[in-house]
Symmetry: none
Subunit: 219 residues, 4 copies
Amino acid sequence: MEKSTPSRTERVGRTRRERGAKAVSEVRRGLILEAAREAFAELGLAGASLREIARRAGYTPGALYSYFDSKEAIYGALLGESLERLNRCVAEALTDGTPPLETLRAAATAFYGFYRDQPQELDLGFYLFNGVRPTGLTPAWNDRLNRRLRDALAPIEQALIAAGRSPADATRATTALFAQIVGLLILRHSGRIRMFGQHADALLADHLDSVVAGLPIQR
Amino acid sequence: MEKSTPSRTERVGRTRRERGAKAVSEVRRGLILEAAREAFAELGLAGASLREIARRAGYTPGALYSYFDSKEAIYGALLGESLERLNRCVAEALTDGTPPLETLRAAATAFYGFYRDQPQELDLGFYLFNGVRPTGLTPAWNDRLNRRLRDALAPIEQALIAAGRSPADATRATTALFAQIVGLLILRHSGRIRMFGQHADALLADHLDSVVAGLPIQR
Amino acid sequence: MEKSTPSRTERVGRTRRERGAKAVSEVRRGLILEAAREAFAELGLAGASLREIARRAGYTPGALYSYFDSKEAIYGALLGESLERLNRCVAEALTDGTPPLETLRAAATAFYGFYRDQPQELDLGFYLFNGVRPTGLTPAWNDRLNRRLRDALAPIEQALIAAGRSPADATRATTALFAQIVGLLILRHSGRIRMFGQHADALLADHLDSVVAGLPIQR
Amino acid sequence: MEKSTPSRTERVGRTRRERGAKAVSEVRRGLILEAAREAFAELGLAGASLREIARRAGYTPGALYSYFDSKEAIYGALLGESLERLNRCVAEALTDGTPPLETLRAAATAFYGFYRDQPQELDLGFYLFNGVRPTGLTPAWNDRLNRRLRDALAPIEQALIAAGRSPADATRATTALFAQIVGLLILRHSGRIRMFGQHADALLADHLDSVVAGLPIQR
DNA sequence: AATGAATGAGCCTTCATTCAT
DNA sequence: CATGAATGAAGGCTCATTCAT
C-alpha cells in the first residue's frame, strides 16, 4: 500500500542528506494525509476527490502519486493512522495498578470518547460499509486494520478476564460492548438518538454497569 | 419531495380519465422504485447510476424525471418504502394476547431480522448518514422517516410499559436495544463480527435476556 | 460495436417522426466520423484524442458516447467505412465484358490508387500494426473488416481464374500482388521510395506485367 | 539528436579520467537502450513509457535525460542500432566467392528474416511512419537512417549488377524486392496473410525466383 | 550523474440533469 | 409522458519533462 521508493544504492546506511530527504518526505506525506482527512470530513468520502485533496494540500493531482499509489491508498493510510490514534487514546486511559473494573470502564469510555469527539474518524471507518463491498482495500491491508481494531479492544477483554470471566465470556461481552458503542455512536452522530430524548453517554454508562454487574464481586 | 402533477382541471373532483391516469402513474412510479431497489441491491448505492435504474425500469434516464425530482428523491422514496415494509414486518410479528415479554422478543427479533436478511435496506438507511450531512433530504421528509422509524420500535417500548416499566425506563431501554441492534447489524454486515468469532443472533438474544431480566416477574 | 438505441416500442413500423429522427441521427453520426477522419489524418491515430474529435465535430466529449461506445468504436466504424469505400472504388473500376487481363489491371490499379490518393486511409489501416497487438477491436469486428478487405481483392483473384489459373495459383498470385501493393504504398507514403529514385506507379505496372506474363495467352 | 556532453576542458585532448568517464557513459547509454528495446518488445511502442524504460534500466525517469534529449531520441537511437544490426545480419549472410544469384537470395532472405524473427524492430521502423509525419526525427538523423537502410539493401543491388543487369535495372528490381519484403512482413505480422492461407516465406521465394528468372543465365 | 518531487496537460469515460421534440 | 441528444463538470490516473538538490 505504501509507495516504495527504493534508493538505487542498496547500502543500509544513509547519508545525512538522504535521511533529511526521507524526513522531509515523511512530513509532506503527513501534510497530504492532513488535507485528505480534512476533505473527507467536510465533503464526505465520496465527495472528496483526489483533485480536491491535492488542492487543499497545495499540490497538483499528479503529485500525490509520488506519495500514494491510488486514492484508495490514501484512504487506507488515513484509516491506519486513525486506528493508531485510537489505540494510543485507549492506551493512555489505562493506569497500572487499577482494579480490572475501573480499567474496563476507562478503556471503553476512551474508545467511545475517541469517536464521539472526533466524528470524522467515524466517517472514515464507515467508508467500509458504504458500497457494501469494501472495494479497493487489499485483504492484507484489511487484515492489518482489523487487527489494530481488535488491539484497541483488547484491554477491555483482558480486564474482563482479570476480573474472573472465562475467555469465551470475555470475548462475548467485549463484542456486545463493541456493538453497543458502535450503535450509540451512530445514533448520536446521525441525530437519531435525539428523537428518543436520550444521551449516548448515559446509555453507555448503563451498559457498562450491567457488564460490571454480571461480574463476580471484586476486592 | 414528491413530484406534483397538477391536473389540467383545477376542480377538486377528478374525471374518470384523470383518476385512471393517476393510478397508472402510481404504478409506473412503483416499477421505477422496484428497478431502483434491484439496482441498489446488485450494484450498491454508489454503483447504481440513474441510467442503470432507468435501464432496468425500461425507461430512458430523462423519463424518470417525470416521476422524481432527482436521484436523491428516489433514494428518499425508497427509504420511505423500506420503512413501511419494516413496520409491516414488525407488525406481523405481533400477536394479540401474547405476554409482553414475548412481544418484546418478537418485535425486536423482527426488526433485527428485517435488516439482517436484507442488508441493502441497511445501506439505504445509511446513505443519510453519508459524509455527516444527510444531503438532499428535506427536513420535513426526514421527520417523516424518523417518525416511521420510531413507529417500528414502538411495540418494543409499549411491551416494556405493559410489563411494568416506567415510560422513561421503557424509552431508555428501547433506545439501548435499538443501539445494540444497529451495532450488531453493522458488525455483521461488515464482517467485523467474524473477527471475534461471535454471532450477531446470539448476542441479540443475550441482550434481550438481560432486558427481560431487568423486568418484574410476570405470570 | 454500433450503439444500439432500441425504441421502447417494439413495433416494426416507424412513425414518420421516428424515421426522421433516425435519419438525422445517422447524419450526425456521419459528421462525427468525418471529424474523426480529419483528426486522425492531421494528428495521427495516437494524437487524435476523443476531445479533439469532439471539438472538431462541434460537440462536448460526452456527447460522442450517444453515437459510439468508445474511442475504439469510432476507429472501428471509420475503418469499416474506409473499406466500404475501397470496395466501391474497386467495383467501379470493373466493366462487364472486358477480358480478364484488363480486369486484373483495372482492379489492382484501383485498389492501389485508392490508397495512393488518400493516404489517410492508409494510416487508418495501419493503426492495427502500431502496438503490435490490435487492441480493442473485437475479434468479430476484426473478422468483418478482414472479410471486406478480401472482398476488395476478390475481383483480382477471379480475373486470374477466368484467365485460366488454378484457384490455388490465383490466391497465391493475389496475395503476392497485395503484398507488393502494400509495400509500394508504404515506401511511397514514407518517402522511402524517393531514396531509390523510383516511382511506385511504375513498379506496380512492372509487377502487373509479370503477373500477366505468367498467364496463358488470351484472345 | 545525441546529447552533447562537452568536457570541462576545451582542449581536443582528453585526460585519462575523461576518457574513462566517456566510456562508462557509453556503456550506461547502451544499458538504457537495452532496457528500452526490452520494454518496446514486451509492451509495444505505445505501452512503453519513459518511466517503464527507466525502471527496467534501474534509473529514475529524470536520469535518462542525462543520456537522451527526449523519448523520441531514444526511439531514434534504438532505430539506429536496429539498422546496424540489420546491416550486420545481412553482411553475415554473404560469403566471398559465391555466385551473384546465390548472394542475391542470401541477402534478401537475411533482410527478410531479420524482421520476421524480430517483429519489434519492424514496429520501431514504423514509428517513423506514424501519423504521416516522422515526428521528432531531425532531417539529418533521418538521412543517416535512410542511408543505413540502403546500405542493407546494397548487396542485393550489387549482386544484380554482378549478374549482368544494368545499374538502372538493378535499382528498379531491388526497390521492387524491397517493397515485396515490406509488404510480406506486414501481412505476416498483422496476421492478414493467414486470411489467404499463404506463407510469407514461400511468397518471398516465389518473388526471388521470378527475379532470378529475369536474369541472364549464369554459369 | 542521479534523485525524487513536482508540473501541467492530457487521457477516456461517466454522471445527473436538461430540454426540444 | 417519453425520447434521444446534449451538456458541463468531474472522475481517477498517466505521462514526458523539468529542476533543485
